[in-house]
């Protein structure tokens, strides 16, 4: 390489550096242009396109889309009681799964964060993450086998004269609670790790009983982490449609969207707005509860 070429190259680099020098806005802008462009065009753009379709209609004769402004799909959603039932069912199960996971996850996370030895902690983290390595479908299908009439659950309960849950809402609740548990444990674990042990000791020194320490010190400090975990479990349950299909006959919001997407895109899009609205409300409440303070 000749010296001129090097000089030439350097001068381009120099010029660029000169351009950015002393212009912090330009620096930040250039840095964020790529990711922000992706977020706005690729992510929000496609979402917007989907939602726009909610205001179209389908011609009953040809099945083609009529792209003029109309509220027909929303009228169907509000007038037909079945859609209300489906929304209520989906949100209720999502809330139940979230509460169940929080109750199960908290003691595990607490043990991991505060009591377990370093070695035990590593083992437990791996144990929590391990189910995430296997396919979602395999996990749901194995639950299907376990819950079936001659499955292992009924076999185990039989000597006690009991029967396990049949396919239905209870089965969906069980399977979803299993599936999303790691997404609750990990945020709570991270949240509990951040609480200094000295605070717990101080509480004890001041004469608080273990229960009071938990109620007045640990729970308030870790609550944002629980809310953060609940965002995962709640939204994942809200959007799932394969589990309900495999372990119940009940329709969730996702099932109805799936059934309508190719014949009636406007209705499917209007339905897709429901979880979005629910999630926005949920996130606003979560923000009030401080879930995003440590992010």
């Amino acid at each position: 390489m000749t010296t001129e070429a090097v000089a030439e190259k350097r001068s381009v680099g120099r010029r660029l550096a000169g351009l950015f020098h002393g212009r912090p806005r330009l620096q930040v802008g250039a840095l964020l242009a790529g990711p922000l462009g992706w977020l706005v065009i690729g992510y929000l753009g496609s979402l917007a396109l989907l939602l726009v379709a909610a205001f179209w209609t389908v011609s009953p004769l040809s099945g083609e889309l009529d792209k003029t402004l109309s509220f027909e799909s929303f009228e169907i959603l509000f007038d037909e009681p079945v859609y209300r039932d489906i929304v209520v069912r989906t949100v209720t199960i999502a809330a139940l799964v979230t509460v169940t996971d929080a109750v199960i996850a908290f003691p595990i996370a607490f043990y991991m964060a505060k009591i377990a030895s370093r070695r035990m902690k590593a083992i437990l983290v791996v144990a929590v993450l391990l189910p995430l390595w296997s396919s979602y479908l395999v996990k749901v299908l194995s639950w299907r086998t376990m819950l079936s009439a001659d499955g292992i659950i009924n076999w185990a309960l039989e000597p006690f004269g009991l029967t396990g849950p049949e396919f239905g809402n209870t089965a969906v609740w069980l399977v979803m609670s299993y599936l999303w548990l790691p997404f609750m444990i990990l945020p709570i674990y991270a949240g509990l790790e951040r609480i200094p042990n000295s605070l717990i000791s101080a509480s004890e020194d001041l004469g608080a009983s273990p229960l009071t320490t938990f109620r007045r010190v640990i729970l308030p400090l870790s609550f944002p982490a629980v809310v953060a975990g609940s965002i995962f479990t709640f939204s994942l349950t809200l959007g799932d449609y394969i589990t309900p299909r495999l372990v119940s006959n009940n329709q969730f919001i996702g099932n109805v969207i799936y059934n309508n997407i190719s014949t009636n895109l406007p209705l499917a899009s209007a339905l897709a707005l429901v979880p979005i609205v629910v999630m926005i409300a949920y996130l606003l409440v979560a923000r009030k509860l401080g879930a995003f303070e440590h992010i």
């Binding site: 706005v40 929000l44 753009g45 979402l47 917007a48 396109l49 939602l51 726009v52 205001f55 179209w56 389908v58 009953p60 004769l61 040809s62 099945g63 083609e64 889309l65 009529d66 792209k67 003029t68 402004l69 169907i76 037909e80 079945v82 859609y83 039932d85 489906i86 299907r144 086998t145 079936s148 009439a149 001659d150 499955g151 049949e166 396919f167 299909r245 495999l246 006959n249 009940n250 329709q251 109805v256 059934n259 309508n260 190719s262 014949t263 009636n264 209705l267």
Partner: protein, 397 residues
């Protein structure tokens, strides 16, 4: 970022931008180029264009018979699997495919939308020996003009566990009559698709003649409401709605389902596994007394086909005796080609699937697209497919 910028304000800006974008898109309703009538039929099959793009049901285009086709014709086969009829219609509307294996509940929609062209059957030598009761049917021939090459057919049977269901049922009443069905509460298996409403219509056609049902896919509002309310009564008794064959096989094998509607494929597979299943008795012609719904698939050529020669070669290839036997056995359906029965690996295959028994198929109502316009006399007063889909959501609750 400056200290005084509020995250909330940023969030609202994003939401406002999103809304603005939505309104922008909703406003510009582009005038769609609505093609009607489809293209012209081909005059002569020319040279291979080197490839062909197909939309097909899973199991219809497999290397076992598509590779020899590629070697013979030089047309490379690209296949896109369609999960449902609705999805296939969507794919064909994209104009990127040369042909599709359409079921009867897709074909009328494709013809109506101008997405497929008429087929010149003279260019498909193997068409000649296709079972004659598959030709000139309302789902493959429109205004006397053939729009496709029949591929194969199947019926939706009544299947039951012969240990639990006694005596052997002879009518769909065992799962559709509210009183009879009640004794199998939670053990009934039903097909999970809006087209299942037609099964109720077949039952009502025989048991409530006052309704005057002729074609289970062309229902007036009154007939449709009767079929829907029958299925709403059935819903609490249904143990499982199935859409994947494997799901039904597993619940019959485990005993979760004892009686329900099925395809020949699941029935023979369960029998081979040694499970105690029986399907509607042979004395009835293998079907319950009312008859049954079924499907008959047709290869259609796109009106925008970029490789028409290869598509014609494919349509002839797939109904050639040996290939049609292969695909029918692989998929588990009755072949369309009458000469295929000499080429099946299982000698009694055609007999098992009633391929050569026209009396059997006379009582099968092949899937069709429910349209609002159901013939000249009744005008536009039938219930269209969109309403079927919505009613199906209501039935399942």
């Amino acid at each position: 970022m400056k200290k005084d910028s509020h995250p909330a304000r940023t969030a609202w800006l994003v939401v406002a931008g999103l809304l603005a974008m939505m309104l922008l898109f909703a406003g510009c309703g582009s005038d769609d180029d609505s093609t009607t009538g489809g293209g012209e039929e081909l005059e002569k099959v020319g040279k291979s264009e080197g490839e062909v793009n197909l939309v097909a049901w899973a199991g219809y285009v497999e290397p076992a018979w598509s590779k020899p086709f590629e070697q013979k014709t030089g047309c490379k086969v690209n296949v896109k699997i369609g999960g449902t009829s609705d999805e296939m219609v969507q794919l064909m509307r994209s104009g990127q495919y040369d042909g599709v294996s359409a079921s009867g509940n897709a074909s009328a929609r494709l013809v109506d939308g101008g997405d497929v062209s008429p087929v010149n059957v003279n260019l498909v030598p193997n068409y000649e020996t296709i079972f004659s009761d598959l030709k000139d049917q309302p789902y493959n021939t429109f205004d006397g003009q053939p729009y496709g090459i029949p591929h194969g057919r199947g019926a939706n049977l009544l299947m039951w566990n012969s240990d639990d269901v006694k005596p052997a049922p002879t009518s769909w009443g065992v799962i559709l009559d509210p009183k009879e069905a009640a004794q199998y509460k939670g053990k009934i298996s039903a097909y999970d698709d809006p087209i299942y409403i037609a099964d109720a219509a077949v039952y009502l056609k025989a048991h409530e003649p006052d309704l005057g049902i002729e074609n289970p896919y062309q229902l007036t509002q009154e007939q449709f409401d009767a079929a829907v309310s029958l299925l709403e009564e059935q819903q609490p008794l249904v143990g499982e709605y199935w859409s994947e064959a494997t799901k039904q096989i597993s619940s019959f094998a485990s005993g979760d389902s004892q009686v329900g509607t099925t395809w020949q494929y699941q029935y023979f597979l369960l029998q081979e596994e040694g499970d105690p299943v029986a399907a509607s008795p042979a004395s009835q012609g293998f079907l319950p007394s009312e008859g049954a719904t079924g499907w008959s698939d047709t290869w259609m050529i796109s009106s925008q086909a970029k490789h028409p020669n290869c598509m014609y070669m494919w349509m002839d290839w797939i109904v050639s005796p040996k290939v049609n036997a292969e695909v029918a056995e692989y998929f588990g359906e009755a072949p369309a080609q009458s000469l295929a029965c000499d080429h099946t690996a299982q000698k009694d295959f055609c007999e098992k699937y009633h391929a050569e028994n026209p009396g059997f198929w006379k009582r099968v109502y092949y899937w069709e697209t429910p349209l609002a316009d159901c013939g000249e006399e009744s005008g536009d007063d039938c219930v269209d497919y969109n309403k079927w889909v919505q009613a199906w959501t209501t039935i399942k609750g």
